[in-house]
Amino acid sequence: MSLLIATTLDDALAALAAGARPIAGGTDLVVGARHGKAPLPASLVAIDRIESLRTVGRSADGGLVIGAGVSHHTIETDSTIGAEWSALADASALVGSPATRHVGTLGGNVMNGSPAMDTGAPLVVFGAEAELASGSGSRRVDMATLWVGPGRTSAAADELCVAIHLPARAPRSGSAYLRLEYRRAMEIAVVGAAASVTLTADGAVDSVRVALTAVAATIVEVTGLTGGSVADVAAAAEAAAADQATPISDLRASDRYRRHCIGVMARRAVEAAARRASGETIAIPVNRAVGIGMAAGAAS
């Protein structure tokens, strides 16, 4: 086995072109190898020391560019992400444990392609694009194009995800990501939902996007949602999510229970997103602030 520790993007891309596989935090690759999911690749290139992959910055149009090597810990504590792309911070804050969040990266989560990834649904509702680089240049693909199946992406073997591009947020917008979880750390999404909501001046929903975690072969976006009162849109999201989900039965839940709960998560995500859009601050992660996460005696 060979391991190249790359310090520049060019070195990393050259290694990929020569057949190496990238490793950043290793929280999927190494754990998977230990559990017999897939052996470690014979040739690895470590990308965790490439500084250019570890930055968060504004784009010219007011959007955000998050380097693929940015950790979940950085995302959950970044004040800009928390304020404007709250759902992504909600999601990163729920990943694994503090140790996982310090080494696990956004790029790794996205490119691992698990339908249970927490950051995926937020990226979809933000209309994010992944920037894929190779020795022959780079391209940007939207999330629906990137994920083609469980653990599979449309990226070529020599392409490296170098950044995630988030478009600028419209005024009066808010977002949230909720997931069903059986415990409060070291958990994998049973189901999850992200919502992004833009309100009209009088507080109704002008536009809404909802995406779902762990109910299909990839992260999927709910279709057919339109504006209206927050309550109506939340109810519509609940019904549509339950209707459009194609969950499986496994150790974590039955398909029937998943279908019910994805509706609940979608409704709550829309409600929380609308509250944030109206200017209310709900602490990151929103999972700890609504439903099961609430403190004793607090109203639901």
């Binding site: 559990h35 444990s97 069903l180 979880e181 059986y182 415990r183 409060r184 750390a185 070291m186 994998i188 150790l251 974590r252 839940a253 039955s254 229970y257 019910h260 709960c261 609940v264 439903g291 099961i292 996460g293 609430m294 403190a295 004793a296 005696g297 109203a299 639901s300």
Partner: protein, 766 residues
């Protein structure tokens, strides 16, 4: 009977355990940390099928692999069938395998990777046999037998067996059928609990080395003397040629009780003529040991008068024994006691069956059978209260045992603190306050015996005045061994820090049963106090000579021996130790007579393994505030209030840790921890990702009150056990909180979010 008053002079001290700094800083060594020159790695070949006859076993390819130093099967070890209650187990599978984790062969090789490849290269062919997984079906007279030769097996004399029923037990008192027929209100319930795991953070490890005809085995066992006995029995060795040493133990929770792999590794090391080390993977830790917590089916019927007085109880219990009986022989009687419960029930008829299946064997996990049985009984008790229109705590106060009352098995209790526990736990929980409609406080009571068994220790004071306690007791994390320093120090007027502990070595210390049955402080405490008392005698004589006084007037305190009433007539214990080192050495040895079982009156127990009479019984009440997310069925424990009668508390800090750990384990068992099987009896969630332990982030605030009253026949200073009792009532209290919110109980354990959701749907459909 002796009554020991609680130590009046001093509040329970709070001291940090002596092994804490080593464990926290990483300087402590665990079995897997140890190495020896030339050490080989061991791997097992497991059956991987639940029930089958071996038609071909060929290890020749494995033996021929470079780096493989020994490969053993049943043909290579003495033909011994063992087991503490039923002799149904062999070290290696002989002709039939009965669960997926059964060991067919063991390999020792120069690296773990080679050993694994060699284990994989062993050729095994099977003829499938019918897999038995359903407890009720297993008891049918035409059920396939898990052990076709069951009738030929040896067993302890009192064990009542029949086909797939490995241990039947019953409690009969009065005439339950007649009383039930005359009852005003009768309620019947069925509750079903899944099995679960002890899940210690340290997977098992064993290291063995022979020198001549003697073997030393370092192992992660909770019961070193039991492990030694198992090695001696299966490899036909005398006890004095087998030395078991336990380095620091990374948790056990009962799962590391019993004799496990010490003999396999010793046999490998003997064959390879090199030291051999086994270190389990997490997956092996889930699949192979004969110590997971048993699944149970529990039927309870209770008859009452309209005022809520219980007049009769009947019960039927099936316990999943798994493929081998291990130490579960007494589970049927213990389960029957916990379904009877700490209540005044004049007419009782309870039957319990320990049922063979092709699942992993069950064994002592912290308070075996009690959390499940208590969950069923206490959930049933809230149904009883509802049926007669009584508030659940008032119903318990009315029917629970108290000092002088007769319990369900005919034992009349001396001083006990159950009623005080109920009062304290509910008051501290704020029971009765107005709560939002998605919250409730559930209450449950529990009990647990103290185990009275032989135990030994030595104490010595060296010439410089420093002391050593050499004890057979095993520290599995409870802190019980750590309290021994305090007991010796108090006996000698010295400080706990003056003593070092030498423990967990069978060739150095006298016998102790090990970290099992919450018995360490109860019995080894007695031994240490006796041993230290002998030295106190010696010191008083030495001081009397030195100070020209009578030994009876010598007081040992603050590191000095002084004449009572004459504080200026004093000599340091260190000086006396120096004098003794030139003459008769300061050595004490202690054991003491364990208290006998209390009498039972008016009851008949079939399959009586001594669990129907509780020596120095411990009582508890847990009141748990739960919040339910009605939309998803996810429950969150907001706060736990406990009260425990475990007699006198020797170290409050350690005792609180025991309760908090037990509660958290109980929350896991209540809500998230349960083993699921496929239709072939194989575990589906044998990994930490899918077996959901509670995490620190899930831990609620836990408030604990100790009811400390004078306890007859207790351990040192009136102490009872405390390791298992905190694990008994938590799941039950959570169940009652959920039932109060939902309107009906969740009848499956664990009460997972999905099961709670299903129960909510049933209630909504009503």
């Amino acid at each position: 009977m002796t009554v020991t008053e609680p130590h009046p002079a001093r509040p329970a001290p709070r001291f940090v355990r002596a092994d804490g700094p080593d464990k926290v800083t990483g300087s402590g060594r665990y079995t897997a940390d140890l190495s020896l020159t030339g050490v080989l790695a061991a791997k097992f070949r497991y059956a991987d099928v639940s029930h089958a006859r071996i038609t071909r076993l060929d290890v020749s390819a494995a033996r021929a692999m470079p780096g493989v130093m020994s490969v053993l099967t049943a043909a290579d070890v003495p033909d011994v069938r063992f087991g503490p209650f039923v002799q149904d187990r062999t070290l290696f599978a002989t002709d039939v395998v009965r669960f997926e984790g059964e060991i067919i062969a063991a390999v020792a090789a120069t690296t773990a990777e080679i050993a694994q490849r060699a284990a994989d290269a062993i050729v095994v062919e099977f003829e499938p046999l019918p897999v038995v997984t359903d407890l009720e079906a297993s008891l049918a007279t035409d059920a396939p037998l898990v052990h076709g030769d069951w009738a030929d097996y040896g067993s302890a004399e009192v064990v009542v067996r029949d086909r797939n029923d490995a241990s039947f037990s019953s409690i009969t008192k009065g005439d339950a059928a007649a009383a039930m027929a005359g009852a005003d209100v009768v309620v019947s319930s069925r509750y079903v609990a899944d099995g679960c795991h002890a899940a210690p953070i340290e997977p098992r490890a064993v290291l063995a080395q022979w020198e001549g005809d003697k073997v030393t085995i370092w192992t992660s066992t909770q019961v070193p003397f039991d492990a030694r006995a198992g090695v001696c029995e299966t490899l036909k060795l005398p006890a004095n040629r087998v030395r078991i040493i336990v380095p620091h133990l990374g948790g056990g929770f009962g799962g590391k009780c019993g004799f496990h792999y010490e003999a396999h590794i010793a046999a490998l090391a003997r064959a390879a003529k090199r030291p051999v080390r086994l270190v389990f993977s997490r997956r092996e830790e889930f699949l192979a040991p004969d110590r997971r917590r048993e699944g149970m089916i529990i039927d309870i019927t209770t008859g009452m008068r309209t005022d809520g007085t219980i007049i009769a109880r009947s019960g039927w219990i099936a316990i999943d024994n798994g493929a081998y009986t291990a130490d579960a022989g007494f589970f049927s009687q213990l389960a029957a006691m916990h379904v009877a419960g700490p209540y005044r029930v004049p007419n009782v008829s309870i039957e319990a069956h320990l049922v063979y299946t092709n699942h992993q064997p069950s064994g002592s996990v912290r308070a075996p059978t009690a959390p499940q049985a208590c969950w069923a009984l206490e959930s049933h008790t809230d149904e009883l209260a509802k049926a007669v229109g009584l508030e659940p705590v008032a119903f318990r106060k009315l029917n629970a045992v108290d000092t002088g009352a007769e319990g369900p098995s005919g034992q009349t209790y001396d001083e006990i603190g159950l009623q005080q526990c109920i009062d304290a736990a509910t008051a501290n929980a704020g029971y009765g306050q107005e709560l939002p409609d998605d919250e409730a406080i559930g209450v449950a009571i529990g009990w647990w015996p103290s185990f009275s068994v032989p135990s030994g220790a030595y104490v010595k004071i060296d010439g410089d005045g420093s002391g050593q306690i050499i004890t057979g007791a095993q520290e599995c994390g409870t802190g019980a061994v750590m309290t021994l320093r305090q007991l010796a120090a108090d006996e000698l007027g010295m400080a706990a820090e003056d003593f070092q502990l030498v423990y967990q070595d069978t060739s150095v210390a006298p016998y102790d049963m090990g970290a099992t049955g919450s018995q360490t402080l109860f019995n080894n405490g007695r031994a240490v106090v006796n041993a230290a008392g002998q030295i106190a005698e010696q010191l008083r004589k030495l001081a009397a000579d030195h100070l020209e006084a009578s030994p009876d007037d010598i007081v040992l305190a603050d590191g000095h021996a002084s004449v009572a009433g004459t504080p200026t007539a004093t000599v340091s214990i260190a000086e006396l130790a120096g004098i003794a080192s030139g003459g008769e050495l300061l050595i004490g040895h202690g054991s003491g007579q364990p208290p006998g079982p209390p009498p039972l009156v008016g009851s008949t127990c079939v399959g009586d393994l001594g669990m129907a009479a509780f020596v120095a019984p411990q009582f508890s009440c847990h009141a748990v505030r739960v919040k339910l997310d009605r939309d998803t069925g996810v429950a969150r424990v907001l706060a736990v209030s406990t009260a425990h009668d475990s007699g006198t508390i020797i170290n409050e800090l350690g005792a609180l840790g025991q309760v908090e750990g037990g509660v958290l384990m109980g929350i896991g068992q209540a809500l998230t921890e349960g083993t699921t099987y496929d239709d072939q009896g194989k575990q589906r969630n044998a990994a930490m990702l899918e077996y959901k332990l509670q995490t620190c982030a899930d831990a609620p605030p836990i408030n604990t009150h100790f009811v400390q009253i004078a306890t007859p026949d207790a351990g040192p200073r009136g102490a009872k056990g405390l390791a298992e009792a905190p694990n008994v009532a938590t799941a039950a209290a959570i169940s009652n909180a959920l039932a109060a919110i939902i309107g009906r109980p969740v009848r499956r354990l664990p009460m997972t979010a999905e099961r709670v959701w299903e129960t909510l749907n049933e209630e909504a459909a009503r």
